[in-house]
Every structure is written in C-alpha cells, then in structure tokens.
C-alpha cells in the first residue's frame, strides 16, 4: 500500500518535472508564434492564447521586397557555406583521418583552436581581410567568414567518422584500382552520409542564424541576411517596435530549418556500415 503510493508520487513528480522542462524550453517559441498571429492592438494585452488568427503581420512582411531579398541572400549564403564546408571538410578529414603524416595532430589542434576564439575577437581582423578581398557588403564575404566557425567542427566530426571506417575497405578500393578521389567519392562518402547530413545541417543552422558578422560585413539592405534584416525592422515611429511583424518574420525564417531537419532526419539511416566487415 505504502509502496504503491510512493510509486505514484514518484511517477507524478517525474511527469511534473518533464512538463516544467518542456514549458521552460518551448514557451519562448510558443509566445513568438502566437504573437505573430495577433493584431497590433491585441499585442499589449498579455494573453497566452490567440482568440482570432490575424495574418496581417505575415502579409506585411512578405510584401516587403527587402525582406524577400534578404531571405534569398540567407539561402544563398547558407547553402554555399554548407557546400563548401562539406567539400573542404570531407577532403581535409580524408587526409587527417586516413593518412599518417608528421604534424597531423598539430593541424587538428590548430583547427580546434581556431574555433575557440569568440567572434568579437576576430571581427576587426576579419573585416580587414574581407575588405582586402573586395568582398565587403557582399554575400560571398559572409560565406568566407562563416566557414571560420563551420569548418572546425565539420573537419573534426568527419575526421572522427572517417577514422572509424575500416582500413581494409579503403585498401579494397585501392586493389580495385580506385584513385584517392574515387575512393573518397564512391566508397567513403556514401558511408559517411549520416555524418555529412548531420554536420551539413549544423553548418546550415549556424550560417542561417549568424548575426554579428552579417551585421558588420554588410552595409546595404539588398545585401543583408535575414537575422540582420529582422533586427533592423522598425516601426512607424522611433518609439514603436513592431513586435508582431518581427515575430512573423522570425517564424517565417525558422520554418525552413524545421522542415529541413524533419526531412533529413528520415535520411539519416543508422547502421549504414553494417555488412562491411565481419560476420
């Protein structure tokens, strides 16, 4: 009897904890979403429920040409960052993960060290580099600067996965007459697919949400990416922040991420290497 009660108490305590954590994590998102559906007059009543769906905010933001432009810039920049990071990460990790050479671990440590600097620390130096390359106020300047933080983790994660692939697989490819590039593309890459999808997604999210570099390295509205564009949305007057519109824009830019994650999650087939070796 007593033990039953204890068990029920423990169970409900645990459930309560889960609910609390969920609320804590999800409430900001929930609030953003309902805010985006409120009319500007409703905004200042603190209600946690939408009584009526208003699409005014969405209409407004989608009607702005500069927002569409920055959405396009974001897609361009993020896609390029993912593509380049994966290409460079894959080739670098092939070298770092499969070959023994002097300075290998030093290189790995340096790559890791690069990602330890706070963004602000490299901001001014990077600004000079970008200006020198003539890429100021240009999405390609952002692509280069974002790879500063996407490449280290891409290389590290892929190197770790690369090292786990059996050596004999590579040797089988060599005996079959594959060049290193062929081995990488036709044998290694298909096996690293889950790792590629994961790192690619992380890189995409990082690039998509980046703010500081995007703010610093762009000048005009038509070159901006979404996070900056949202931050710079202003109201009719200096004293009014159009929260509804900001929230609608935020929801709009988060949506592709959510869809992307859901889509690729299905593709991450675990245990893809099963059957390569042993019985």
């Amino acid at each position: 009897m007593n033990r039953n009660i204890m068990r029920i108490l423990a169970r409900s305590g645990f459930s309560l904890l889960v609910v609390l954590i969920l609320v804590f994590c999800l409430f900001p998102f929930y609030y953003a979403i309902i805010t985006s559906f409120k009319s500007s007059s409703e905004l200042f009543q603190a209600s946690y429920w939408v009584n009526q769906l208003h699409f005014d905010n969405y209409q407004h933001i989608l009607g702005q040409e500069t927002f569409i432009h920055s959405l396009f810039n974001s897609v361009l920049v993020s896609t390029l960052v993912v593509g380049l990071s994966l290409l460079l990460g894959l080739t670098a990790s092939y070298a770092l993960g499969r070959f023994e050479f002097r300075g290998r671990s030093t290189v790995l440590m340096v790559i890791l060290a690069v990602s330890m600097f706070p963004q602000v620390a490299v901001l001014s130096g990077l600004f000079e580099v970008i200006r020198m390359l003539g890429l100021y106020n240009n999405p390609f300047g952002l692509v280069i600067s974002y790879m500063l933080f996407t490449l280290p983790f891409t290389v590290w994660i892929l190197t770790t996965f690369m090292q786990q692939l059996p050596k004999e697989l590579e040797e089988a490819a060599i005996v079959d007459g594959a060049t290193p590039w062929m081995t990488l593309v036709r044998v290694m890459m298909p096996l690293l697919w889950p790792a590629l999808v994961t790192t690619g997604m992380l890189a995409f999210i990082a690039a998509w949400n980046e703010f500081l570099f995007a703010l610093t390295f762009t000048l005009t509205d038509d070159q901006r990416t979404v996070p900056v564009a949202i931050a710079l949305i202003s109201g009719a007057s200096q004293y009014e922040l159009p929260w509804g519109i900001i929230m609608a824009a935020s929801v709009l830019v988060t949506l592709p991420l959510v869809i992307m994650v859901l889509f690729f999650q299905r593709r991450i087939v675990s245990g893809l290497t099963a059957g390569a070796v042993k019985g």
């Binding site: 040797e171 089988a172 594959a178 096996l191 099963a274 390569a276 042993k278």
Partner: protein
C-alpha cells in the same frame, strides 16, 4: 595466371625488421600457403606482394615483370581480405563490378564478367542484395567474386575463412579448392589453420619471425621438417621433441641418452652425419609411438592425462620430471588410465634428429609410397 618471384625482400616498420631477406619462387598456377605463428609477417608479406605495403629493398616479379614500383591495380592481383571489406552501400553486383567500372570496361564486358563470376560462385540469386543481407559464407563468396571478376594473374587471400564457423569453413575450403582447379590461377593464401594449409596447398611456406623456415609440399613438410620449428609447427598435436645426446653410433646402429638418463636404441638410424657425443633433439610424432607394458617399452613413465576424441585418444606420458610429457596417439583396444604406468615403443624409421641449432640431419632416403605416387601422376 603468372609466376611470382620474390628476391631478397626486406621490410622494416620503424626499427622493427619484419621481413628478412625473403627469397621465394612461386610457379604459375601454384597454390601457395603461408603459415607461421601470429606476428611472423605473413600478412605483411602478402601485402607487399599486393602492393599495399612498400618494401625497403628487394625485388618482386610477377609473370617475369618487375612490379615493385607498380600500384596494386597494375600488378594484376586480386585480393580477398580477412574481414571481406565489401562495400556496404553497394549491391553484390556493384561490388563485383566496381573494379571493372574503374578500369573503364565496356558495359557489355562488365555484364558478362559479373554474370560468369556469379555463376562460378553461385551468387546469381544474390546479385541485387546488399552485403548486410548476406550470411557469412555468402559474403565470403562475394569477396572472392570481387577478386576474380577482373581476372587477376595472382589471387591473394589473407585468412579468408577465419571469421566463419567450423562447418562453414570446411565447406568454403572445398569451394576454394574447386575454384583453384577451375581457374588454374596462381593463389597465395595466408592462414593460421594447419588443416587448411595441408589440404589446399601445393606448396607451403613456413615463416618464423620474418624469415622463411622451409618451403615444400605438405608431404615434405610433414615427413621431412627442416628445423625443429617446422617440426613443432606442422602436425597436430605437435611433434614430441626430446633433448638427448648421442650415446653410440656404429654403422646403422644408434643409441641416444635421454635427459632422464635412459638410453634408447633407434636402429636402423634414419639420418646421416651423427657423431658420438653430439647433443641432439629427437623428434617423433604422436602417431609413431606405441603404448605397451612398462617392461616392454623403450622408455616408460606415468600417464598424466588422456584426451578422448572418439576415434582415438591422446595419451600424455611423463617419462622424466623435467621434460614435457610425451604425447602419444593411441587407437588400440586397451584403455590407458591416468595414473597407470606404461611403456613406449618408438618407430625408428619415423624418428627425426635435429642438431643443436635445430636443423635437421640429412635423412637416409627410403622409398616413400606417396612420393612415388606423386611422381607417377
């Protein structure tokens, strides 16, 4: 189909000298098996032949052509790895076709080769499957298929059966033998398993610490081991090795003094060049001794263990406190019991004598029915 010649191959890993002056001639169509204890360099030697490992010096010829500077692909070899190393994301068909695709064969040639390979190895119903959908034996066959599809001049196997269970191993062993008879290609095969070596090989190479101990047919290795190492390595259970010294030699008559002080007479002497006073090792296989009563035996001792295997028994006999027990294969009627005393009779003809360096004394050659048979074929 090609011969393989190794000349003074040396290989170092850092400061470790792994292969020492390997000289070896392998003829076209031969089935050569490398055996030796773990770490003796079998895989390294195979990988040197494959071109996956560079040598420090030495020469390697395949089909008379110097290949030491060629890539694995250009050497015309096919290799079956211990872990099979199938491409897990490709179907059986693609696994077999991969090498052909890379060498830009026409799609018709590829089709034909895959089809004939699949027919030889009975892979036809499995062609569209992925490796993870195959059993161990089937994966093994795919690995062989991948190696033979490009019609290599030399096939290399590195312990291909060691991941399979015992009954499958026997079955695959026969398939490999069949494959060799059918393709008649030169095969170099590494194994730990003596039975595989004895049954498959036309020539066995015994390696020890990076050196070749002996090269010969299974028959030669079993009947005429050149060193105590080979004597102890080939045959199961191992040959008994008894240290002794020569008591007396007189023409055909030889008597040895064992560690225990007992003097035994093994006449007629099967070897030449033994001198009185020499320290020698007497080698005798378990099947060349007979159990008898303590009084009738050349030596006697206490039975310390009996292993029953159904068709035969291995009897362990302690003849001297400081020596390893003798192992005797016994299939007679009477049942030896642990704790009993028994005597042992040696077949003088089957005795081997090794000098202090462990090298066999030259044998007096008798006519062996089997070698005569081999010559007449």
């Amino acid at each position: 189909m090609a011969s393989v010649t190794l000349k003074k191959i040396n290989k170092h890993f850092g400061s470790a000298h792994i292969l020492r002056n390997i000289d070896l001639d392998i003829e076209d169509g031969e089935f050569v098996v490398f055996v030796g204890p773990s770490g003796c360099g079998k895989s390294t030697l195979l990988r040197v032949i494959a071109g996956l490992e560079e040598v420090n010096n030495g020469d390697l010829l395949i089909g008379g052509q110097d290949v030491i500077d060629l890539a694995p692909k250009e050497r015309g070899i096919g290799m079956v790895f211990q872990s099979y190393a199938l491409y897990p994301h490709m179907t059986v068909r693609d696994n077999i076709a991969f090498g052909l695709q890379l060498s830009r064969e026409s799609s018709q040639t590829i089709e034909e080769r895959v089809a004939s390979t699949a027919r030889i190895l009975q892979l036809e119903p499995l062609l569209e499957r992925k490796p993870r959908e195959l059993s161990g034996g089937q994966r093994q066959r795919v690995a062989m298929g991948r190696a033979i599809a490009r019609e290599p001049r030399v096939m290399l196997f590195d312990e291909p059966l060691s991941n399979l269970d015992a009954s499958l191993r026997v079955q695959m062993r026969m398939e490999i033998a069949k494959l060799h008879r059918r393709l008649k290609s030169t095969i170099i095969y590494v194994t730990h398993d003596q039975v595989e070596a004895m049954t498959l090989a036309s020539k066995i190479v015994v390696l020890n610490a990076g050196r070749i101990e002996q090269v010969g047919t299974p028959y030669e290795l079993y009947e005429h081991p050149a060193t105590t190492f080979v004597a102890g390595f080939i045959g199961s259970p191992n040959m008994n090795l008894l240290s002794s010294s020569v008591d007396a030699v007189n023409g055909d008559l030889l008597s040895l003094a064992l560690q225990s002080g007992t003097s035994i007479d093994i006449s007629p002497v099967p070897v030449q060049g033994v001198i009185k006073g020499d320290s020698v090792t007497l080698g005798i296989r378990p099947e060349h001794m007979q159990l008898t009563t303590p009084a009738a035996g050349q030596i006697d001792g206490e039975i310390v263990n009996v292993e029953y295997l159904g068709n035969e028994r291995f009897v362990y006999l302690m003849y001297h406190a400081d020596a390893e027990p003798l192992v005797i294969r016994h299939s007679g009627q009477q049942l030896p019991m642990v704790g009993e005393r028994a005597g042992v009779l040696f077949e003088a003809d089957a005795c081997h004598l090794f000098n202090q360096q462990g090298i066999s004394y030259p044998r007096v050659l008798h006519d062996h029915p089997e070698s005569a048979l081999a010559e007449s074929i």
